[in-house]
């Protein structure tokens, strides 16, 4: 299976596909002092081949570049379409979607671990293909690309993670998901333990994945390492409800006083229904309606490219002025880790 996938997702096919793209001559920088970011919200659509997938990714990158964006972020599980190259898969997928057979919380997914060997075998070629496509697009359009997430195989373990790619098309690093859903645990995915902040010329940026934003600790660590912007890919397999959406990156942005860029996947895949709005978020005091929203998608389903400005100077000022940000209590904090996580009743 792995060899077959390598062949179908081959470097030559990707190179040929990318070679037809005409690079944008003027990347529409208009002399502004802020950073412009784009968050992709996209619907899962069937792809019969890797060229179709590359074309779909390019449509978002091109649009972001035309709007003068410095960085674009793709959603979690940004690879589902590539499974469509398996003969018969798209038909099977349509059947599963009609029957809605898998419910992450229903307990009917007890056989999920059986998928693990298959996922292992296809993960490396899929990772190679996505990263190759994204590197090519980044250099063609001179834009930072966060790839969205996919399975990354390391030391015979599968992780859910993504890569940040420079304007020159180089992979600057990868970040694995630190907190898994029950569904992912049942699949046999392993969580990462290392959290990184990348120092880019557009700011210090971190790339946690989906559930990681449920945990204030991630954003606390990000901020303590000088992070200004957090990019978060999501793929929520549940019906959209605003309060549910508010449990993720939005409150973390308010606590940690960083910008948040959320990219979201939606649509049906193998009987699972994904919904979610892409958006760009900032501390409440920095947004005109005092709601912490710079820009957000109108609808939790469909294709959108959400673009917003990131003003790091204004962020710095907000950190200094906000009543409820910036205090420290060294006496309380010096034993915090031990008291909270190592000697608690939950542990």
């Amino acid at each position: 299976m792995e060899k077959w996938f390598r062949w179908k997702l081959g470097e030559d096919r990707i190179r040929t596909s990318l070679s037809s793209i005409k690079a944008l001559e003027n990347n529409h920088k208009d002399g502004r002092g802020s950073i412009r970011a784009a968050a992709v919200q996209r619907k899962i659509t069937a792809a019969k081949n890797v060229e179709a997938y590359a074309y779909r990714m390019e449509s978002f990158v091109k649009s972001a570049a035309e709007k003068g964006c410095d960085i674009i972020a793709f959603p979690e599980y940004n690879f589902f379409e590539l499974l469509g190259i398996i003969p018969g898969f798209n038909l099977l997928n349509r059947c599963l979607n009609k029957r809605q057979v898998i419910h992450a919380e229903s307990g009917s997914d007890s056989g999920l671990s059986k998928l693990y060997p298959l996922l292992c075998s296809i993960s490396t070629p899929i990772q190679a293909a996505i990263e190759s496509i994204m590197c090519g697009l980044a250099s063609k359009y001179s834009i930072y690309i966060y790839t969205g997430s996919y399975f990354i195989r390391e030391n015979d373990h599968l992780y859910n993670g993504g890569a940040i790619i420079s304007r020159e098309g180089d992979i600057l690093g990868r970040q694995m998901k630190l907190h898994l859903t029950d569904f992912e645990e049942k699949l046999g995915i392993k969580r990462g333990n290392e959290f990184k902040v990348f120092s880019l010329d557009i700011g210090n940026i971190a790339f946690p994945v989906c559930m990681d934003a449920t945990y204030y600790e991630v954003f606390n660590l990000a901020r303590s390492r000088g992070c200004d912007v957090v990019v978060l890919p999501i793929a929520n397999n549940e019906e959209y409800r605003r309060p549910r959406a508010l449990r993720g990156i939005w409150p973390r942005v308010q606590e940690a006083h960083v910008y948040g860029i959320k990219a979201a996947l939606n649509g049906w895949f193998c009987g699972l229904h994904f919904t979610g709005k892409a958006g760009i978020f900032a501390p409440i005091g920095m947004t005109p309606r005092e709601d912490g929203v710079v820009a957000v998608s109108e609808h939790p389903e469909g294709d959108f490219l959400i673009v917003g400005e990131i003003d790091l100077e204004a962020l710095c000022k907000e950190r200094e002025e906000d009543e409820y940000y910036g205090d420290s209590n060294p006496e309380f904090e010096k034993t915090y880790y031990f008291n909270t996580y190592l000697s608690c009743s939950k542990c």
Binding site: K29, G33, D70, L178, H179, R191, N193, V197, S199, D201, I202, G203, N204, M211, T214, Y215, Y216, E217, V218, F219, N220, L221, S224, R225, G226, C227, D228, R241, P243, L246, R247, W250, P251, Q254, E255, H257, I284, E290, D291, G292, L312, C316, E323, Y324, G326, D327, S328, N329, E331, F332, E333, Y336, Y337, T340, Y341, L342, C344, S345, K346, C347
Partner: protein
């Protein structure tokens, strides 16, 4: 357990011109709670320091509490003098006794301006089968406080709050509401509306619970109305329903403790406060660099 949060709006504040009026209002609230068979009530922040130091206020409520057997009362917050230090504090009073005390751990900028000191310990107590703690006002915006309480087994948080600025539900959602969703405990919030030391405060009184156990899946068991007439909002805190909600979405079950080992570590410049902004190359600078590229 029947819970109540006091609704204290701006008109209530404007009516108060003396400590005696406040004491009378508190007595009225407790009587109202008694009529509603309330087991636990939380009052708004800052009530204890509107007219006097907190000592008299607390002593009077301790005295009052003797008349309400079985009712646990969080009297809101007050300033507590301890030698040279003054803390923003709260407590739980029951049947003539102060059974638990808590000092605020973090300070807002206006509180720093008053020279207040920070508490260093979090306390909890078990009542009617639920372990509970107090999160005072500013601490609702420091999620480490909520997490520490949750990890110690607290299932109910009493939060007297005073949120500076105009009424803004987004600000409030960023406070106790999101801490409840992140830690899946109950939260009883009573907000102070009015002025204190030259600052205006606005907020809504809310009884919070995990999304999955609230009727509108919005995390509100009770929320003060826009033209609320009754001085209390009430809700039944059903711990079995809460446990069911936790089974559906168990946030604390997925903590990655290994990944947090540097949190608040001084050697790693821990915490997200008082940190320098990361060095950033101005956008124009890299554009110039970009143009110079072959």
């Amino acid at each position: 357990m029947n819970a109540a949060s006091i609704v204290f709006n701006n008109d209530d504040y404007l009516e108060l011109t003396s400590y005696e009026q406040l004491a009378g209002k508190v007595a009225g609230w407790l009587q109202l709670c008694c009529e509603h068979k309330i087991d636990m009530v939380v009052l708004p922040a800052l009530l204890g320091c509107l007219f006097d130091n907190g000592e008299r206020y607390i002593n009077d409520i301790i005295e009052l509490s003797n008349a309400y057997k079985g009712m646990a009362i969080c009297p809101g917050s007050y300033f507590e003098a301890d030698y040279a230090d003054t803390y923003h504090s709260s407590c739980i009073i029951m049947e003539g006794e102060k059974i638990m005390e808590q000092r605020q751990i973090y300070l807002a900028k206006w509180e720093k301006g008053l020279g207040l000191s920070r508490g260093t310990e979090l306390n909890s107590i078990s009542l009617r089968g639920l372990k509970l703690g107090i999160i005072i006002s500013t601490d609702v915006f420091y999620p480490q406080v909520s997490r520490a309480l949750a990890m110690s087994g607290v299932k109910l948080v009493l939060a007297p709050t005073a949120i500076i600025g105009s009424r803004n539900m987004s600000r409030q959602l960023a406070g106790l509401w999101q801490n409840v969703q992140a830690n899946l405990f109950f939260g009883m919030e009573s907000s102070f509306n009015g002025s204190f030391k030259g600052h205006d405060f606005h907020g809504s009184s809310i009884i919070h619970a995990p999304l999955d156990m609230t009727a509108g899946e919005d995390g509100f068991l009770a929320l003060e109305g826009k033209s609320q007439k009754c001085a209390i909002i009430t809700a039944e805190l059903d711990n079995e329903k809460r446990k069911e909600a936790v089974r559906k979405f168990n946030t604390l079950g997925q903590l990655n403790i290994e990944a947090y080992k540097d949190i608040f570590m001084p050697s790693r410049n821990g915490g997200y406060h008082e940190q320098p902004i990361g060095k950033v190359v101005p956008v124009e600078a890299w554009r110039r660099q970009d143009k110079n590229k072959p």
